[in-house]
């Protein structure tokens, strides 16, 4: 087990399309790049994961990310804090494992509220302070009065001394300076950090008692679960692991059988498709023959009707031939009607009837007789064609039936067995998957048991540590003046490293506990550049004291925009600061900017040399030229809005692609 007091290992943003992972290491971690690429969001999300109230997210993030997980190590234990980014009031989940093992662990629920309900889940603050083994105390809201009300100290109060957001760096309002109530509380928090609260000894004693009680409770829980596991003959985790592995192997094997079966079915169906196409072509030919048959039958009807018509006509023409000998138009030339004396008008008759000559009638009879013969022949040839077509159709029908039989045989002999084989494999895979789910659940139960056991061990260790602390406190409680003197000297050496001119009147104010330079307290310093240096330095020297004294503070700091008001940042920043006293000292001197980085890197090294760890998370628009070369290893993320040199375009590095695709 490593001995990191508090280490952020990585931040994982679980997205709709992919996960976005930002890894962190012990020591200095630098995130830099163009504006609007999501750098600051990383620190904001970390702050939120550690109990921050709510978070404003960029459109890119809120459209891409479902929830976030912070993988960290506290006092040697692995934890993953998972929190909904959009519902700050929802309970926070804590898994006692690293990120990769989340699926086989049950999470504990933590309330995001500092004042957790009685009987409800612990608050995130209680969890963090407990794991860090810091005493949980109540601070007097008005320390000079004995009757003052008390407020519970929370991890949020400590976070203030670890996180400078973009607005707080170099700001006169850092740590809510100027807010009387908060200032009073901050002073009490400061005292808490350095163990110089009046009530310190009693608090530690009370903490030991509380932890002992918690230990007893935990022991009884563990014994109940152990009994349960024993009585139900629960396999141990090794056995379950072996079973999970076997299950996996078997599933893999059967899945590959399944693939083989599918392939075999496909290759077998080659003959199936041949039969199928034979069947199709037979059907098509039958249709064509049917059409031919219908056409021929129609022609036969047409020819026969016409032939009969001609036969009739021939008879009629013969009758005309006979009668026109006897009765003719020539016979009535002189005739007139006896009643009206009107004469028969030949012209009128020939307007209404045709009167053909004998020759013409004779010719027509011959021509029709010939045509009757021709039509008979034509009709006969069509009848022959119909007989042929019918024969063809019956042959095609035989062919078709043969294809149908072959197809049926193919289906039942060649494909059906594969289908049943496939069904068997599918069923087997399904049942194995179910079993896998069950095993995972069992694993989770066992892990829960292990987790409690681990908690118990940790609790025992913590009680031991607290006892040692109590002993030390009782022997030599530090005095406030001692601590302030040490801090002043640390501040002086910091400013020396930064190379601030006129280093006189440097101290930590006895009342406000804020830095003083040239006898001017932080909030009254006019130079924005100097305030930036001091605000970062203040956090840095408190971190250094964490190393020296083991104070009650996080051993990590986060600074958003180190170069604010100094060195290489845009002139706009200086204007915004509203200062007139920079005399060019801070805006012109990139060396000061570089020196801040150097100091922080040295500080991290100091921790390392002592066999301890700290984390310094820095966000900046740029880094000093030398630092970027010399300390490449510290850079955990570097974004370029335009993707220059193949750099990711931001935290949500697939956003541009996504937008392009969507358009």
């Amino acid at each position: 087990m490593s001995n990191y007091l508090f280490l952020i290992k990585k931040l994982v943003l679980t997205g709709h399309r992919k996960n976005y992972v930002i890894p962190f290491h012990p020591g200095v971690n630098i995130i830099y790049g163009d504006g609007d690429t999501g750098k600051s969001s990383i620190l904001r999300i970390i702050n939120y994961m550690l109990g921050g109230k709510e978070i404003q997210l960029d459109h890119e993030i809120s459209s891409s990310v479902i929830h976030a997980t912070l993988d960290l190590e506290i006092n040697g234990g692995s934890f993953c804090i998972r929190r909904d980014l959009y519902a700050p009031q929802k309970n926070i989940e804590v898994f006692s494992c690293n990120f990769e093992e989340i699926e086989s662990n049950f999470p504990s629920k933590l309330s995001p509220n500092l004042n957790a309900k009685v009987g409800g889940p612990k608050s995130i603050s209680e969890f963090l302070l407990g794991e860090l083994n810091f005493p949980i105390v109540k601070l007097k809201q008005s320390p000079t009065k004995d009757t003052s009300g008390v407020a519970r100290l929370s991890s949020r109060d400590l976070m203030k001394y670890s996180y400078l957001n973009q607005d707080a760096v170099g700001s006169r309002k850092m740590l809510d300076i100027g807010h009387p109530v908060v200032e009073v509380k901050n002073r009490e928090v400061f005292k808490y950090i350095f163990n110089i609260l009046d009530s310190n000894i009693t608090d530690v004693t009370a903490e030991i008692a509380a932890k002992a009680k918690e230990k007893a409770k935990l022991e009884s829980r563990i014994s109940i679960i152990s009994d349960f596991l024993e009585e139900t003959e629960f396999s141990n985790s090794e056995d379950i692991n072996v079973e999970i592995k076997q299950n996996f192997e078997r599933r893999k094997r059967i899945s590959s059988y399944l693939e083989q079966v599918k392939k075999r079915v496909v290759s077998q169906s080659k003959s199936y498709s041949i039969y199928k196409s034979a069947l199709e072509s037979a059907k098509l030919s039958i249709d064509l023959e049917e059409t031919r048959r219908i056409n021929s039958i129609r022609s036969i009807e047409r020819f026969d009707r016409l032939r009969n018509e001609f036969i009739n006509d021939i008879e009629k023409l013969k009758a005309i031939e006979t009668s026109s000998h006897r009765i003719s138009i020539d016979n009535g030339k002189q005739l007139a009607c006896p009643i009206c004396d009107s004469k028969i008008e030949i012209q009128k008759i020939s307007d209404n009837f045709s009167i053909s000559s004998e020759d013409k009638v004779r010719q027509e009879i011959n021509s029709l007789t010939r045509r009757v013969r021709e039509l008979k022949e034509a009709s006969e040839s069509h009848r022959e064609a119909v007989r042929e077509v019918i024969q063809n159709i019956s042959m095609l029908n035989i062919e078709r039936e043969k294809a149908v039989k072959l197809l049926d045989a193919e289906t039942s002999e060649a494909i059906s067995p594969y289908l049943s084989e496939r069904d068997t494999f599918v069923a087997e895979v399904t049942s194995l998957e179910e079993k896998h789910g069950q095993l995972l659940h069992e694993m989770k139960i066992l892990n829960q048991h292990d987790k409690l056991t681990l908690q118990l061990t940790k609790l025992t260790t913590n009680i031991g540590l607290l006892k040692g602390k109590l002993e030390k406190l009782e022997k030599s409680a530090p005095s406030i003046s001692e601590i302030l003197t040490d801090l002043s000297s640390d501040l002086n050496s910091y400013l020396k490293k930064i190379n601030i001119k006129t280093r006189v009147g440097i101290s930590i104010d006895e009342k406000s506990f804020l830095p003083v330079v040239r006898n001017v307290e932080y909030r009254h310093i006019n130079s924005g550049g100097l305030r930036t240096i001091l605000s970062i330095g203040y956090l840095a020297i408190l971190l250094k004291n964490n190393l020296i004294r083991g104070s009650n503070s996080f051993n990590f700091i986060m600074v958003d925009t180190v170069g604010k008001y100094i060195g290489k940042t845009a002139e706009q920043d200086i204007l915004e600061a509203g200062d007139h006293d920079d005399s060019g000292e801070f805006e012109d001197d990139p060396s000061k900017y570089r020196n801040i980085y150097e100091y922080l890197i040295d500080l991290a090294e100091l921790f390392e040399n002592e066999g301890k760890n700290c984390q310094i998370l820095l966000v900046d628009n740029d880094v000093p030229q030398e630092t970027s070369e010399k300390y490449k290893g510290f850079i955990v993320a570097h974004y370029s809005a335009k993707g220059v040199n193949g750099l990711p375009t931001g935290l949500i590095d697939d956003w541009d692609d996504f937008i392009n695709k969507a358009n």
Binding site: T322, I327, I329
Partner: protein, 170 residues
């Protein structure tokens, strides 16, 4: 009507029409009681029916009479499926046929109280017709024999029967 077609239309020939009318005048001149009935209207209807024996059969069937036994060539022809009812309308053609028969000295006309002017063939007409021979004349007597079953029906009844057949699509 001048025939400009490259073939003859026997139905349109004056001789054929005159011959058929003569066959009607011989076969169907009187009722059973001996009354002459063939006025112009009835002649016109009979001419149409005799030229279209399939329609004649339909009309007989409608009146529950015995049908003509038609041969395949009579029944299964183009005419039997493509009807032309025009000859039923307009009296001019029948007038011309009667004028033609009369000019040949074959017709006799009487006035009847019930039917107006009615026609029959005179002795010359009967003699002339008896000299005609051939397949078609057999057919004609076959038709008139069965058509005689309609003699007792009035012209109005025959017309309404034909109207019905026209409505039914021929």
């Amino acid at each position: 009507m001048k025939n400009n077609l490259p073939f003859l239309e026997p139905r349109n020939e004056l001789s054929l029409n005159a011959t058929v009318v003569m066959a009607i005048l011989i076969g169907l001149p009187k009722t059973r009681s001996g009354k002459l009935v063939l006025n112009l209207e009835r002649l016109q209807i009979y001419l149409f029916l005799i030229l279209n024996p399939t329609t004649l059969n339909k009309l007989l069937a409608k009146s529950n009479k015995t049908l003509i036994e038609l041969r395949e060539d009579e029944e299964y022809s183009v005419t039997s499926v493509s009807y032309n009812f025009d000859p039923l309308f307009g009296r001019e053609k029948m007038q011309l046929i009667l004028q033609f028969l009369s000019a040949n000295g074959l017709l006799e006309s009487t006035y009847s109280k019930d039917y107006g002017f009615v026609f029959n063939l005179n002795s010359k007409g009967l003699e002339t017709y008896s000299e005609f021979s051939g397949e078609y004349f057999h057919d004609l007597s076959k038709y008139t024999e069965k058509a005689s079953q309609l003699q007792s029906s009035s012209v109005g009844k025959l017309n309404s029967g034909l109207n019905q057949i026209i409505k039914d699509g021929g």
